[in-house]
Amino acid sequence: MGQTATRANGASEDASKDDLLRFYRDMLLIRRFEERAGQLYGMGLIGGFCHLYIGQEAVVIGMQAALKPGDQVITAYRDHGHMLAAGMDPNAIMAELTGRRDGCSKGKGGSMHMFSTEKAFYGGHGIVGAQVSLGTGLAFANRYRRDGKICLTYFGDGAANQGQVYESFNMASLWKLPVVYIVENNQYAMGTSIQRSSSETHLHKRGISFNIPGEEVDGMDVVAVREAGLRAAEHARSGEGPVLLELKTYRYRGHSMSDPAKYRSKEEVEEMKTRHDPIEHVKKLLIDAGHASEESLKEIDREIRAVVTASAEFAQSSPEPDARELMTDVYL
């Protein structure tokens, strides 16, 4: 692994038909789920903060493909995509968004605080950067037990300026912990662009002074993400310590539902949507290779819409938590 940026040019040709179809389906699930979440928010069924993942789907789907069963994932508050990628039940996620009894946190966590010990998804954290120390601790436990697991620890370009990220980098490298750090660089920390917030904007270089190898990856190309993820996972799993991947990506929506995103031009957003969309990219690969037709992909879309529609109905028919839940889960 080098310190310099290496784009996985041509990586897309390495993916099989089955891989591409799976990527297409998995990314589309996230997109349709998030669109529906946005709609339910607009209807007042989802409250508080709600950070959508639309545009960044290739990151989690590509990275998830590099994992083995039992490997852990932890991220911040833009977490719906990570949970779907981890295989968590869309019904339970949507019901958590609506604050209902059948939500994966019983309605007590909300958009930013969901977990699944079964799927090794450790949240869902609302304090920018805190999940980096926590993820380093999950990796510490893996190392302590020597169980061969790795932990994917996601954070954003905003968190990249938090001190505890570097405290964690130092310990992870010092103790050769099996952790892959993934900066999802969507280029805006809420409303502040990376150029306005960071003295070094190439975030994959942020590990250099800790001897953590870094790599820049096209986060809109799911195959390139998977290839980089496989390399990074192998490195971390082999006992050589952490890796830092900078995934260049883009969120189409605002930071949260109430952000009009006036800090960037419509042209910039349009350019990303029309020329770099991660789902359209895979669609083109599938059609160009003769692996799928417009109609067969449309059929996948119909199937996914049915799943998402069912989750929205589930999330509205599930009752609110019983008042007795107010004082449960405070202590064990």
Partner: protein
């Protein structure tokens, strides 16, 4: 037919202005396409279509002001449909947001929640109990070694228990509390960290979430302010936020409170800070037997525990029962001296000052009962209230500042739970309301002391 509703674009939005339509009747639209601009009280936002179809009607005119959220603003026909938004809307609880706005009818939980005071803490941890059976051999041991022995015993008992912190391993502990642990357990389980409190506190919590049982030593609790976010936001809250899935069985420990002439930044008592937080257990022992028994119980406890030691007591020798597995239950105060005239509550080092004060007072004919709180959360109110009902007078002593302090909490609860039994205003003894000074005379003036407790007792007994 699919209905498009006026969306809420912020957590608080109830109405908005339809600034601009970007589509017209007859237009075919795709999911994600921007169809309108809406002005909220904060900003102008774009509205994207969720479904595809053809616009069959625009029901609210461009420029309309004060359009209520969930008003039907347009209709779509044809295309691939997900269920009509209107149908979806019909299922929402009455009265607005699913979380339940006041007056929102069905959305508001109707049952009265259980009393927090009854539910605030776990049941006391069992174990062998703390009753010393007659004939038990007592041995002398320093508080420091009692803490070390507690950790060593629990590390022998459970391979998931490990110790991490600054200078805990090769240096043998900044205050020698972890002396000889590295030799017995090796560097995997006795881990020297860099000076990086925020980072290693978070790392410890992450390891706990993965099922290990970390003991995180802070060289002093003063430095843990760098880490307090991880202690509260991650360790204390995640069990609740995850609906009971994610557990953090972790002990944060180290010396707390004023040492001797180390200045304001190194001399703070965090008792009230941490005892404010649901999800944490907070323990502040006085003597070696309690320190050992409570630390062992803390390590076994499945919850995050804040364990506040006192540097000035580390070298003090106490008697401790020489039994194999000495445990003291969490959540139980201890009556250290029985008396009938006044109740004095204290924790940590102030227990010593309170006991001395009681000796002085006895010579003047005042019979004080001294209660060592031991656990600050959950607070053992039953023991305190029973005592006040007997003595009718209360003095609290603590090393920290008065405002929002432990004494303030004890006084408030005694006032509400035993008001009719009080013959004098509950009175607090605490540090003066200023950062702790370096000069010896000013430091002594600032801190609570035996003399100040004696004076407070005389005031409430009108002597």
């Amino acid at each position: 037919m699919t209905q498009i509703l006026m969306p809420a674009l912020s957590p608080t939005m109830e109405e908005g202005n339809l600034a601009k339509w970007l589509v017209k009747v007859g237009d075919k639209i795709e999911p994600g396409q921007v169809i309108a601009e809406i002005e909220t009280d904060k900003a102008t936002m774009e509205v994207e279509a969720v479904d595809e179809g053809v616009i069959s009607a625009l029901l609210v005119a461009e420029g309309a002001q004060g359009v209520r959220v969930n008003t039907v603003i347009a209709e779509l026909s044809g295309g691939e449909t997900s269920p009509p938004a209107g149908e979806v809307a019909a299922k929402r609880p009455e009265g607005g947001r699913a979380g339940g706005t006041p007056g929102g009818g069905a959305a508001v939980p109707s049952a009265r929640p259980p009393s927090p005071s009854l539910r605030e803490g776990p049941p006391p941890q069992g174990g062998r109990g703390e009753e010393v059976t007659p004939g038990t051999v007592m041995i002398k041991i320093t508080l420091r070694d009692a803490l070390r022995d507690a950790m060593a015993e629990e590390m022998r008992r459970d391979p998931n228990v490990f110790l991490m912190g600054e200078e805990v391993a090769e240096y043998q502990g900044a205050y020698k509390v972890s002396r000889e642990l590295l030799a017995e357990f090796g560097p995997t389980r006795v881990v020297d960290t860099p000076i990086t409190e925020h980072g290693f506190a978070g790392l410890g919590v992450g390891a706990a979430m993965a099922g290990l049982k970390p003991i995180v030593e802070f060289m002093t609790w003063n430095f843990a302010m760098q880490a307090i976010d991880q202690i509260i936001n991650s360790a204390a809250k995640t069990l609740y936020m995850s609906g009971g899935q994610i557990k953090s069985s972790i002990v944060f420990r180290g010396p707390n409170g004023a040492a001797s002439r180390v200045g304001a930044q190194h001399s703070q008592d965090y008792s009230s800070w941490y005892s404010h937080v649901p999800g944490l257990i907070v323990i502040a022992p006085y003597d070696a037997a309690d320190a050992k028994g409570l630390l062992k119980a803390a390590i076994r406890n499945p919850n995050p525990v804040v364990f506040l030691e006192h540097e000035m007591l580390y070298g003090t020798e106490f008697e401790i029962p020489d039994v194999a597995d000495w445990l003291v239950p969490i959540g139980k105060a201890k009556v250290r001296r029985a008396g009938g005239d006044v109740t004095i509550t204290a924790h940590s080092r102030m227990v010593g000052a309170a006991l001395k004060a009681a000796e002085h007072l006895a010579m003047e004919g005042i019979d004080a009962e001294v209660i060592d709180l031991r656990t600050l959360r959950p607070l053992d109110m039953a023991t305190i209230v029973a005592s006040v009902k007997k003595t009718n007078r209360l003095v609290t002593a603590e090393e920290g500042w008065g405002q929002s302090g432990v004494g303030a909490e004890v006084c408030a609860r005694v006032t509400s739970e035993a008001f009719d039994y009080l013959d004098a205003p509950p009175t607090r003894v605490h540090q003066v309301d200023a950062p702790l000074a370096y000069a010896a005379n000013l430091e002594a003036l600032a801190l609570p002391s035996t003399e100040k407790i004696v004076a407070a007792v005389k005031a409430v007994t009108y002597r």
